[in-house]
Symmetry: none
Subunit: 197 residues, 4 copies
DNA sequence: CATGAATGAGTTTTCATTCAT
DNA sequence: TATGAATGAAAACTCATTCAT
């Protein structure tokens, strides 16, 4: 019975997850409006109606997805930086975290990039955005105070580093570059030289 | 008759142009599937049926739009580089060209970025992509032969420089950065340091 | 065991009753098609599946409800008339019974009125209708034989008296009239004058 | 060309009318929630999408329908009363107007009756209701001032007379009574006796 | 050529009903 | 027996496309 209940619960738990997973992949591939709810349900292996037991609407679904992945991404980036390490090492770790995240969840990176500032994102999603941006800006400002990073607007640092990273990811996805440790290391050096003093 | 035909053609050109213009703005704002043909027609100031006189279908419209702007963008970037100028100067001009293009046609940049590799783009659009990429790659390779740019895959150079540029553009659009000559110059320096030897 | 069965039955009865109660209110408020089975279950305080233990389908539920209330209504009207009383007194009692019933079960009156001759009512519901109508027609015919009520089709007498009554009930529900003993007495007089010789 | 344009326009005009007509019949038969938009479109002889060119939503459709018929009904009742005629004659005319209206538009009467105070009716529909009620109340009050009608709340007079009328109409629809001039005259007399001094 | 009303295929969403627990 | 999560058929509504004018 315990086993049976466990299976039951696992099923329950999995359903929401399966829907989010399927939605992430499809939204990343075809965009929000280019994806139908039955397609999401199909790929998640559930009935179309089931999607609506877990999410009020298709919009609620993208928003939940956006918030979950944005938060996860933020955690992945800043959660494990060693404040004792050298600045260059910290930057390396930061870049490494992005790389690991993108390797593990390539659809999530595509999804987040494609839905950045989309008009159907709600207040909560935008707040979530801010919550991720905040610590990164602080981190940059700290490095700037220590004359390690160029004295330019922190948002420009972010735009350049993350922009370059996304550029690499897209080129790899398009087959123009290999998505390999070597590629990422080379790109990391370029990014570092872009912003360091 | 010549005069009449000229007037006639001008009208034709204007309508087609108005439709492309409206479509660019709307596709950039809401995406391909999020935009309706009547909306495009409305904003272009023509009847919905008229769109179909100039473009076979909504897909044909995005593709025409993509090809026109991609070509235009390629022309803007590479068309006016002075081979006699210093490498740094050439990079400056290149960046300047991107900046001018983005200042003049911000919706076009958003549109191209959002529809990059979209599944509804046809063969011709992809070819167009290649045709723009080719000269840039050659330009980079030339610079690398002369030990001016780091010896890394040319596509990585492109990914980093264009990625950084798009990052700046998006940050400006989101209100995080000013879209000003100063911002662009600062960013240009960073981009240059990222790739220079 | 008898005790256990009694408790068991009481539970059964209560649940069935709770469902009928909830359904009556909701069907009266929003109509048959405007009411969902889960809503009924919710208001009855049972699970949605439970409704289907007691009623084969939503249609079976309305029909059971219609039959129960129609029968109840018929019983209330004719069950307690004193054949010895004066005709006027009998009419008074009849009207009084309607009034008492409507006071005690306003939703039932609304429900019956709204679902009168609805296409989803089955044979049995229609028979039930007849069974209620029969004694009233006889009662009217008897009064007509005694030259107390106008010699018009008994169904017209019913239509006028019950129509007027329902009119009053609706006006009261809409806030145009007070639902009070005085109102009902005044209306009774009017109704009587409408049909008396 | 004039003829052609006229045909074109007639078609246009008819389409809205055909939809309202079909909707009236179906809403009266099966209720608002029991009727589907494609059914309405089908019976109106237009495509399902066309309904939405003329009415924003199904709710907007019922409301438009309600307002049109309520207004029409009000006009039919009060529009042609001769103030010079005797009170009894005026009542006769009033009743006659109801009868004529119900004969000409039986579905409209059923529709109005069934949707009276429905929760999906909007503010404007309720105002419309009031606008029809007002003149009738005044008319009754005037008769009461002249001691022709019983000194009871005007809304009670309305409830009784209209209630009786609706009762007759329903009985006729159910096959219990003939819908004939004779039936209506008999009922008129009853209604008059119900309210006259 | 230009139009925009009309359409039906395709979306999003709801809900009666079932069934594993 | 009671439950409520799951479902898919069906409803409301949208929109790319056509075609009569």
């Amino acid at each position: 019975m315990t086993e049976a209940k466990a299976r039951y619960n696992r099923q329950i738990v999995d359903k929401r997850g399966a829907i989010l997973d399927a939605a992430c992949r499809l939204f990343a591939e075809r965009g929000f409006h280019g994806t139908t709810v039955p397609e999401v349900a199909d790929r998640a292996g559930v009935g179309a109606g089931t999607v609506y037991r877990y999410f009020e609407s298709k919009e609620a679904l993208v928003n939940a997805l956006y918030q979950e992945w944005k938060t996860e991404f933020g955690r992945a980036l800043m959660g494990k930086l060693d404040p004792q390490a050298s600045p260059r090492r910290q930057f390396h770790d930061f870049w490494q975290h992005m790389a690991e995240f993108a390797t593990k969840h390539p659809e999530a990176v595509s999804f987040l990039e494609l839905h950045h500032h989309a008009p159907y994102l709600d207040e909560k999603s935008r707040e979530c955005e801010e919550k991720v941006r905040g610590p990164i800006v602080s981190f940059i400002e700290d490095m700037q105070r220590r004359d390690i990073i160029k004295p330019i607007p922190p948002d420009m640092v972010m735009a350049i580093v993350y922009g370059a990273f996304v550029g690499i990811a897209k080129a790899a996805q398009g087959g123009y570059l290999q998505w390999s440790a070597e590629t990422l290391e080379t790109a990391e050096n370029c990014a570092w030289e872009a912003i360091r003093m």
